[in-house]
Amino acid sequence: MARKLETFLERLDTTNTVDDLSSLADVLRDTYDVKNMSYLATNLNGLPFVSSTYDPKWAQHYEDQNYMLIDPVVRGALLQFNPLDWKRLDWSSKRTRSFFNEAVDFGVGRQGYTIPIRGPNGQAAIFAINHDSNDPGWDRYLEENAHDFMLISHYFHQKALAATHTTDPIEGRELSPRELDVLKYLGIGLSRGKVAEVLEISEHTLRVYVDSARYKLGALNTTHAVAIALARGVIAV
């Protein structure tokens, strides 16, 4: 499980252009066996940004029919911050059901998971994957992968911000003293266990500090986080 996440994040790490980002869907298909992936941001450097593996005919049809107005996924993602399991949304009206069936006819998976993303500067984005498994299979799939998609979606968003030269996503998110300590000790080669011991914190807390520092730095792994912090001169070892 952790291996899959690493594989994807390593690949994401080497991705720096808009075209590269679009090709990541294939990697996601291979590592997580998803049918489609889509990422949509309302405003990156003044423009909407879309990267998806949907049939372009479906994208066009969706736009022509103005389905955004009735799509329960969109409504959910605008208001809520929790990831949305499509089958837990409100499909009770006839219009939404026929919309769903059309989507399936165009090759969209019957099961889907959409993660709303809020950027610090008011950007909003959604990251979605879909799948064709039956309900029990899908529930197991989500149980296994929900955590990975939470991270993947947010890191994908950070990469999209960077690739479109959108305002520094970490503006106003300087590393805190505790995060600097952790990166510094990891940077001089101490093991996680040793760092936790030196700082008198639990390994769980250490993990939280590292996660937080990584997210602020847009770093996909710990080594990368240390490297960025060194390059920016915020830590010295």
Binding site: L79, Q80, F81, N82, P83, D85, W86, K87, R88, L89, W91, K94, R97, S98, F100, N101, R110, Q111, I117, R118, P120, N134, D135, W138, N145, A146, H147, D148, F149, M150, L151, S153, H154, R173, S176, P177, R178, E179, I201, S202, H204, T205, R207, V208, Y209, D211, S212, Y215, K216
Partner: protein
């Protein structure tokens, strides 16, 4: 039972909403003497309630608020980061960490308070398990820490401030299936019940085999 309700949906539950915000005023303003705002309705409401947080609310048999927590993701503005980061020496921002605040228990509950408290803790834990989170963060009175430990949810204290009964702690709690099972066992609340609460609020429409066919 526990209901999960987003702030923008609270108006659909007028009695729950009314009693929750009034109970919060009673607990945080009157009993704890915190510097919080109570509006003309007698509601304790702050700027985080305006950010469409998710509440987990214990609904008493008479339909009133029995207890509640308020949940927000740390990738957006949070109370801990805005007001308590100096205690912990860190602003924690992570997609897999959500903040849990305004832990409130109704004074109308004469018995079963600890059951409601455990239920609220489990409802927060369940959100984390379902949505793939790793941890939750929050600020509590240090003298309440034994309650969490007793119930099997061992917090990491990452900062403290104040003295004696007023001392507060910024805490991190791990979230995973094992932790949930442990709390369920110690609080004698069936995991199926916790899952039922979640499934009532986020109802599963079952897509297959042909359920969606018009």
């Amino acid at each position: 039972m526990i209901k999960y309700i987003y702030a923008d949906q609270l108006d659909n539950f007028p009695l729950l909403k009314d009693t929750m915000f009034k109970d919060r005023a009673g607990q945080f303003k009157v009993r704890h003497g915190w510097d919080v705002t109570v509006d003309e309705n007698g509601y304790e409401i702050d700027e985080y309630d305006a950010m469409n947080p998710l509440y987990a609310i214990w609904e008493a048999p008479d339909g009133t608020h029995g207890g509640s927590i308020r949940v927000l993701p740390t990738v957006g503005p949070t109370m801990v980061n805005d007001h308590f980061s100096d205690l912990a020496g860190i602003k924690i921002i992570s997609p897999v960490i959500w903040e849990c605040t305004r832990f409130c228990i109704s004074p109308r509950l004469t018995d079963g308070q600890s059951k409601v408290a455990a239920s609220l803790i489990l409802s927060g834990c369940e959100l984390g398990v379902r949505f793939g989170l790793e941890s939750s963060i929050g600020v509590v009175y240090s003298h309440t820490l034994p309650i969490y430990r007793r119930i099997g949810w061992i917090p990491d204290v990452i900062g403290t401030s104040g003295e004696e009964r007023e001392e507060i702690s910024v805490c991190l709690w791990p979230i995973n299936a094992k932790v949930k099972a442990n709390i369920c066992r110690k609080s004698r609340i069936a995991p199926e019940l916790v899952e039922y609460w979640f499934d009532q609020s986020f109802p599963d429409n079952a897509f297959t085999p042909v359920a969606i066919a018009a």
